[in-house]
Symmetry: C2
Subunit: 534 residues, 2 copies
C-alpha cells in the first residue's frame, strides 16, 4: 500500500531532495485519496500538518473558530458530494468540541476523516495539561479510530481512514496523529484501497418486498438515505403507480432532492401522535435505507415503536446498503420500470406573502423566492415544520435535515454545503436557540465569501421545550421552569452578531419585509443574514 | 442513606400528599447536599428536572446558551467556593459540548456534579437520533460516572455524585438520568455521605522534605493547588525565611491568592527554555500539591521533563493530598511557624500608562486599576505572560489560570466566579481567538447581571502558534500555513458581539483609553467588555 516517495500532483520540485515528514506524507495521502478539503482549527500539535500545506498542492484548508463548525461543515460537504472531507482538530478537547456535530454526521451517514493531533507518544506519560484519552473521546462518535504509532505508518493509516470513511452510507473515521509521528521522516505517500461496495439485496428479499407492496394502500415504502435522491424518489413513484402503495420518508433525512419535476415525499413528523396518524392503516412496511420508525424521545404513556401493531416489516435495504440499486431491483421485479410516477411536483410557487409572521406565511416566503439549485439546511425546529407544501413546486433544490438531534447543526452544515457547491445558493434556516451553539460559523462564511443566506427564526425561546414539558408530563411549569426555556432576557440581536463577524445582515419584522430581504439575498452572492423577529 | 420523604428546607406544604418523582428527589438531594447552583442547558429529557425547580426552594438555575459555558462556570464556581455546583446537560451531545471545559476543570481539580439526561432506558435500543454512549462520552472527562437505573436510586446516586465531586482537590462526577427515572415515583431525598479527608503526609515524609529544603538556595518548594492560597503562601514564606529555599508555583495554577500583604510567587513559564532557567540550579525539589514540572508540549530536541538533571524530588503532598496541612506540618518540623516571610508584597501600583499598547503597558493598566477583592481570570495566552510584576502590589486579589490547556475557558470561568462571589469584581482577560470558542458566555453575564469586566486582547491571530510553528520545527511558514493562524479576514468586532448579547462595550486603541475604560468598568457593577485592539 505504501508508494515510493513521489509528488502525486506532477512535478513538485520542492520535494526533490527534501525529507518528507509524517505530516506531509499524510497531507499528500489525503489529497491523492480525493480528500482535498480540510475544515481546520489547529493548535501546536497540528503545526506540521499546517506547515505541509504550503508544500503540497491541492488541499483547501478552511479555518473555523470553533471545532463544531469544522465537523458540521464536513458533514454538509459529504451530503452534497458523497465524498469525505477532513477535519484538523487539536487533541482531546478539540475533538470534544467537534463531537456534537460528529454525532449528527454519524447519524446522517456522512463520511469524515478526522485528523486529531496528540502529544508525542513519549510525552503522554507526563500527563501535561492537554493530555487526555483521545481514543476514548473519539470512540462514541466514530466508526473507526486509530492512533498512528510512527511516522512510517501515518500515510498508510491515513489511507485506511479514507477507506473507512467511504463505507456506505459514510462513516466517521478518526486518525490520531502524535506530534512525533508528524515531525519524523516518513516513507512516502500511500494509495487508498478501494472500499467494498454495499451489499445488494438478495433476490428473495426483493421478491418479499414486491409481494408486500402489492397490498396497495395498506402497504408503505419507507425511505431513508440515498433513496431520497431524485433517482430513488422517481423509482419509488413508479413503484407507487404500479402497486398503489404509499411512499413515506423517515423522520430524519440527510438530503432530499425535491421541487418541481420530482416525486414529493413527506418526512415522518416529530410529534408522536402526528407520526402515528401518518402511519395508520399500514399493514405492510418495506424499509429502504431506513430503520423502522421510532419516536424521537420516549414519553410517559406513548409508544417508542411507531410501526402500527400487526404491521409486517420487510427490510429491502438496510441503512448501510445500496438504496438506489435496491429500488431499481424492486421496480424491475414489479415490472414498474416503465411506469410514470403518478405524483410529480408541478412548477408552482406561492404568492409573495404579506402581513404578520405565521408558519404558513414563512413557508410561502421561502417558496416564493427559492432559486433553482438551492440547498436548504433546515434547523428551523418548531417554526419550519410545515414548509414542505409551500416549496414542493419551487425549482429543483435539496433539503438537508438534522439526523442526530444535536442542535447547532445548521450553520456549520451550511458552511460545508457552500464549500462543496460554490455555484449554488445555500439557505440555512435556524432557530435562534439552535444558532447560538455554533454561531462562529458566520465568520467562516464571511472569510470564505460563502454564498449562504442565513435566516434566524427569533422566537426568543427554546420553543420546542414548551410542548415537550407537557409531553413528558411536567405540565403547569412555574416561573423558574419557564425561565430555562426563554431567551428574551436579554434578546439576542442577530444583525449585530452577524456584522461583528463580517456578515451583512438585516431584520425582518413582517412577511413583506422578509420576502423582500429573501429576494435581495437570492439576487446576490456571498453571506447574508436575515433576523426574522417573530 | 435514603431519608424519608421530607421537605429539607423546613415546611414545604406543596409536597404534602404529592408524589415526588425521581427528578424532584434529585433536586432536593442536591440542595440538601449543598449543591444549590445549577448551570443548565436543558432539553426534553431534562424537563422533569426543570419542572421540579418550581417545587423546590434553594436551587439557583443559571441558563447558558452553550454547554461549554455551563461546565466552565461550574469550574469557576468551585475555584472560588471549594463547593461543587451542578450542570444540567442534554444527553450525549450536550455532554460533549461541555467536555472541553470539563477537561479544564478536571485538570484544575474542580469538583462538579454533572446531571446528564438520557432516554428512558427501554427506549435506548431503538437507536433514535440522540442515542449515544453517554457513559463512554463521560468517562474521559470524569472521575466518577453512573447511570441511575431507577427512580428509587436517583436520590442515592445523586448523593454519591456529590460525595465523589468533593474528593480532594475536587472531582468531576457525572450522573446520567434516564427520563423514566426522572418521571417515575421516587422514595425520597438522600443525605450526602461525608467525603473522606485527604491523607496528611507521614512524619518521615515531612522530615525528608525538611531535610531537602535545608539546602537553601539549591532547594525549591514547588507549589500547586491550595498551597497557593494566602495561608499556604504565608507558610511557604516562613519556610523560605528559615531555610533560604526558593518558592515556585507550578505552570498551571487553579487559583493564586496574591497582591499586597501576600507572599508573591511566580508561575513556571510556558516556554521550555524560560522554565528551565527558572528551575536551574535546583538540586532538591519538594512538591506540595503539584506534580514534577513537565513541558506543556513535546518539542523536537527539547526535554519533556523540566526537573534539572540530578535534582532529587520529594513529594511532601501529592495533588490529591492536603497542601495546607502539609505545609503546616513542614513549617512546624522546621521550627518556622513563628518566622516572618522575607518576601511580602508591599502596596504598590504602577503609574497609569499612556501611549501605544505594549505588554508592560497592558500590565501597568491592569495593576493601576485592579480593585480590592478582584478575581482575575487569565486566558490572555501570549499577551498577559508578563503581568504578574505589575499587579503584585495591587490590593489583594485572586488569579485563576487554565490548567487543562483547552481554550474557551476564560469567559465561562468568569461567569462561575461571578455567580460564586457577587460582591467581587471579576476581570476576564481573554485572547480574541480563545474568546470565540465560548463567546455565548456574554449572554449569561448580561442575563444574570454578573459583575464581570471582559478584556479582549485583539491581536487578530492565534499568536501563540507563530512561535509554536518554529518550536516544533515547522519553520518558514508559507501563506497557507499563516492563513490558519490569522483572524484578520474579516476582523472580529467584539463591541458589536457584546452588544448583540446585551453587554455594553467599548474599544480601546491605546493605553490611555484602556486605563480610562478599566477605571470606568471598575467603578460600576455589571458586565462590561473592552476590546483592546492591538
Amino acid at each position: 500500500m505504501l508508494w515510493p516517495r513521489v509528488a502525486p500532483h506532477g512535478a513538485n520540485i520542492r520535494l526533490l531532495g527534501v525529507v518528507m515528514n509524517g505530516a506531509e506524507s499524510l497531507v499528500r495521502t489525503l489529497v491523492k485519496g480525493g480528500v482535498d478539503v480540510c475544515f481546520a482549527n489547529p493548535g501546536t500539535s497540528e503545526m506540521h500538518f499546517v506547515g505541509a500545506l504550503d508544500r503540497v498542492e491541492g488541499m483547501r484548508c478552511v479555518l473555523g473558530l470553533f471545532e463544531g463548525v469544522c465537523s458540521g461543515a464536513a458533514d454538509g460537504y459529504y451530503r452534497m458530494t458523497d465524498k469525505p472531507a477532513s477535519t484538523l482538530l487539536h487533541l482531546g478537547p478539540g475533538l470534544a468540541n467537534a463531537a456534537a456535530n460528529l454525532h449528527n454526521a454519524k447519524k446522517a451517514g456522512s463520511g469524515i476523516v478526522n485528523i486529531v493531533g496528540e502529544h508525542a507518544l513519549y510525552h503522554i506519560k507526563y500527563d501535561t495539561p492537554l493530555t487526555a484519552d483521545i481514543e476514548g473521546i473519539a470512540r462514541p462518535f466514530s466508526h473507526w479510530v486509530k492512533t498512528s504509532p510512527t511516522a512510517k505508518t501515518v500515510a498508510a493509516d491515513g489511507a485506511a481512514a479514507i477507506q473507512a470513511a467511504r463505507v456506505a452510507p459514510g462513516q466517521v473515521a478518526t486518525l490520531i496523529l502524535p506530534a512525533d509521528t508528524a515531525w519524523t521522516e516518513a516513507d512516502g505517500v500511500a494509495e487508498t484501497p478501494d472500499t467494498p461496495s454495499p451489499q445488494k439485496p438478495a433476490n428473495e428479499t426483493v421478491v418479499a418486498a414486491a409481494k408486500a407492496l402489492k397490498n396497495g394502500q395498506s402497504a408503505m415504502l419507507f425511505l431513508g438515505g440515498r433513496a431520497l435522491r431524485a433517482k430513488g424518489l422517481e423509482l419509488a413513484g413508479k413503484i407507487a403507480t404500479k402497486t398503489g402503495c404509499k411512499v413515506q420518508a423517515a423522520g430524519g433525512t440527510a438530503r432530499i432532492e425535491r421541487g418541481a419535476g420530482r416525486v414529493p415525499v413527506l418526512r415522518l413528523h416529530f410529534v408522536v401522535e402526528t407520526a402515528l396518524d401518518m402511519l395508520k392503516g399500514t399493514k405492510h412496511m418495506v424499509l429502504c435505507g431506513a430503520k423502522p420508525p421510532a419516536a424521537f424521545f420516549a414519553y410517559p404513556g406513548k409508544p417508542s415503536v411507531l410501526v402500527p401493531e400487526g404491521c409486517e416489516v420487510t427490510t429491502l435495504c438496510p441503512v448501510d446498503g445500496d438504496p438506489l440499486a435496491s429500488l431499481e431491483a424492486l421496480a424491475a421485479e414489479l415490472g414498474a420500470l416503465n411506469e410514470t410516477p403518478a405524483n410529480v411536483a408541478q412548477p408552482d410557487r406561492p404568492d409573495r406573502p404579506t402581513g404578520k409572521f405565521t408558519p404558513e406565511g414563512l413557508g410561502a416566503a421561502l417558496g416564493a423566492t427559492l432559486p433553482e439549485g438551492a440547498i436548504v439546511v433546515d434547523e428551523s425546529v418548531t417554526t419550519g415544520r410545515g414548509f414542505f407544501p409551500y416549496t414542493a413546486g419551487a425549482p429543483p433544490h435539496d433539503w438537508l435535515n438534522n439526523m442526530g438531534g444535536s442542535i447547532g447543526f445548521g450553520a456549520p452544515v451550511a458552511v460545508g454545503a457552500a464549500v462543496a457547491c460554490p455555484d449554488r445558493k445555500v439557505i440555512a434556516m435556524i432557530g435562534d436557540g439552535s444558532a447560538m451553539y455554533t454561531i462562529q460559523s458566520l465568520w467562516t462564511m464571511a472569510r470564505e465569501n460563502l454564498d449562504v443566506c442565513v435566516m434566524i427564526f427569533s422566537n426568543r425561546s427554546y420553543k420546542i421545550l414548551y410542548s415537550q414539558l407537557a409531553d413528558v408530563g411536567a405540565a403547569n411549569p412555574g416561573p423558574r421552569a419557564i425561565d430555562m426555556l426563554t431567551l428574551d432576557r436579554p434578546t439576542l440581536d442577530f444583525t449585530l452578531l452577524a456584522k461583528s463577524m463580517g456578515v451583512p445582515a438585516a431584520k425582518a419584522l413582517d412577511l413583506e419585509e422578509l420576502t423582500k430581504q429573501l429576494t435581495y439575498a437570492m439576487s446576490q452572492k456571498g453571506p447574508y443574514l436575515i433576523d426574522v423577529v417573530m
